[in-house]
């Protein structure tokens, strides 16, 4: 990773408010190394593409069978045979390639993608991910490629607000929702902080509009500062 790898201590941006959705996407884009092969999950992660520098050399993968995906198609560009995983019409960049679903998921499962960015309902301190099912008894289960994406990149980044609408934290000691993957998340980008998660526990890399101490007080998981 780029910017964050140069951090040697936790940075607290207390002179500003929380990140907007666009700002979150911009921060994620900042941390994707040039030339990476990247899959952006459906929904909020898709927005990261808007903030990748034109000369970044980042190549986007869409699991429905393409490398070299371009921006959303508009007007005459719209072609129903060319969509992203969210079924939104997209465009093709020079150097693109198409492949079938088994090859596409082999690419993912085989660990060839550098970065995958996903949304989440919950992430645990150990990096467990819950993003496919709320566990509500009447919900129709639908997983799509979520479980494949969760285990299918060298770095799995999650983008989410840190707190649900009812105020409960989504970074938790252990997920209460059904899991998507075990210990698969590397970093969590939220509106108020960026975390590293995993077997070493939770490290706060950056905060936005909140101090480290205030953040620690609002979460049930043990936090560490970088270079503690």
């Amino acid at each position: 990773m780029t910017a964050l790898d140069t951090l040697d201590r936790t940075v607290e941006h207390t002179d500003r408010g929380p990140l907007s959705r666009d700002e979150m996407a911009e921060i994620v884009a900042r941390d994707i190394p040039p030339g990476s092969f990247v899959n952006l999950g459906i929904g909020q992660p898709t927005k990261v593409a808007d903030f990748l520098a034109a000369d970044s050399g980042v190549v986007l993968h869409t699991e429905n069978g393409m490398l070299g995906m371009g921006p959303a198609a508009v007007g005459d560009e719209i072609d129903t045979d060319l969509t992203n995983a969210g079924k939104v019409p997209v465009t093709e960049l020079p150097g693109a390639s198409y492949f079938h679903h088994a090859d596409s998921f082999a690419m993912m499962r085989g660990g060839h993608l550098d970065v995958c960015v996903l949304g989440a309902f919950q992430v645990s301190a150990a990096g467990d991910l819950a993003n496919w099912h709320t566990g509500a008894p009447d919900a129709i289960p639908a997983v799509g490629g979520a479980m494949d994406l969760a285990i299918g990149a060298k770095q799995v980044l999650v983008m989410m607000t840190l707190f649900a609408k009812d105020g409960t934290a989504k970074l938790v000691p252990g997920c209460t929702y059904p899991l998507t993957g075990v210990g698969c998340v590397d970093r969590v980008y939220t509106d108020v902080a960026v975390f590293r998660v995993g077997s070493q526990g939770v490290t706060v890399l950056e905060t936005f509009g909140i101090s480290y101490d205030d953040l620690a007080a609002r979460l049930d998981v043990a936090l560490r500062r970088l270079q503690d």
């Binding site: 869409t62 699991e63 429905n64 069978g65 393409m66 072609d79 129903t80 045979d81 060319l82 969509t83 079924k87 093709e92 198409y98 492949f99 079938h100 679903h101 088994a102 596409s104 998921f105 082999a106 993912m108 499962r109 467990d128 099912h133 009447d138 919900a139 129709i140 289960p141 639908a142 997983v143 799509g144 490629g145 979520a146 479980m147 494949d148 285990i151 299918g152 059904p178 899991l179 998507t180 993957g181 075990v182």
Partner: protein
């Protein structure tokens, strides 16, 4: 040997009640709508349908579901904004559902086509979708044993076929088509155009003729060809 059919009705005439039917497409891209419509007219029922989604809107797979022909749906992502037909059947208890992670779905069909008895996948480990399945640690990583999904029939939407049945696809409409073509006893393909053998570049053929049993040209290009 591949049979070039006059129409979609001829192509699906012998699909039997109780068949497992693999239906290509990711959303509507690559969906073999004309073959599905013909299957509705043909009347086969008590079907198991394997497809990524469980129908969109009121056409294609959704129409087959609405006609009450499907006993069981195997898919990765049934719940979509426009999957009201499936949603209604599911909530009414009128259809069985097996949810499979998208990459495992593709790889299980690839295994069926490739003569693989079963395979260990890292996808889904530790999640509800791996419950009851054999788990094994190999080289420090945990895998779940997945078995092939074989079809009696595959309905595939491709772009162009030659008269021998070699196929090329178009952009992300390729998706599940090439995999399903290998995984069914009888593979039936709708294309926009049938060209003379020798026209397709042998380096660019995606589905070799050996996997294709019947081809039917549909849509504007086919009608134009017929009229000329």
């Amino acid at each position: 040997m591949t049979l070039i059919c006059e129409g979609a009705d001829e192509a699906v005439a012998d699909v039997a009640d109780g068949s497992t039917v693999l239906v290509g497409g990711f959303g509507m891209a690559g969906m073999p709508v004309d073959l599905i419509d013909a299957l509705i007219r043909q009347g086969a029922t008590d079907l198991t349908v394997v497809s990524n989604n469980a129908g969109n809107g009121d056409t294609g797979l959704a129409a087959l579901l609405a006609a009450g022909r499907v006993r069981r749906m195997v898919c990765s992502f049934p719940r979509q904004s426009d999957s009201w037909v499936f949603d209604g059947l599911y909530r009414a208890g009128k259809i069985e559902l097996e949810v499979v992670p998208q990459g495992n779905l593709a790889e299980r069909m690839r295994a069926a086509g490739a003569g693989i008895g079963a395979f260990f996948s890292p996808t889904g480990v530790g999640t509800p979708l791996a419950e009851g399945k054999e788990v094994r640690e190999i080289d420090g990583r945990t895998y779940v044993l997945e078995h092939p999904i074989k079809g009696d029939v595959a309905l595939v939407g491709a772009h162009v076929a030659d008269r021998m049945g070699n196929l090329v696809y178009r952009k992300t409409a390729r998706n599940f088509g090439p995999v399903m073509a290998t995984a069914a006893t009888t593979t039936i393909v709708q294309v926009a155009q049938v060209v003379e053998t020798g026209t397709l570049d042998p380096e660019a053929v995606v589905t070799p003729s050996i996997y294709v049993d019947r081809v039917v040209a549909v849509g504007a290009a086919a009608r134009q060809q017929e009229a000329s």
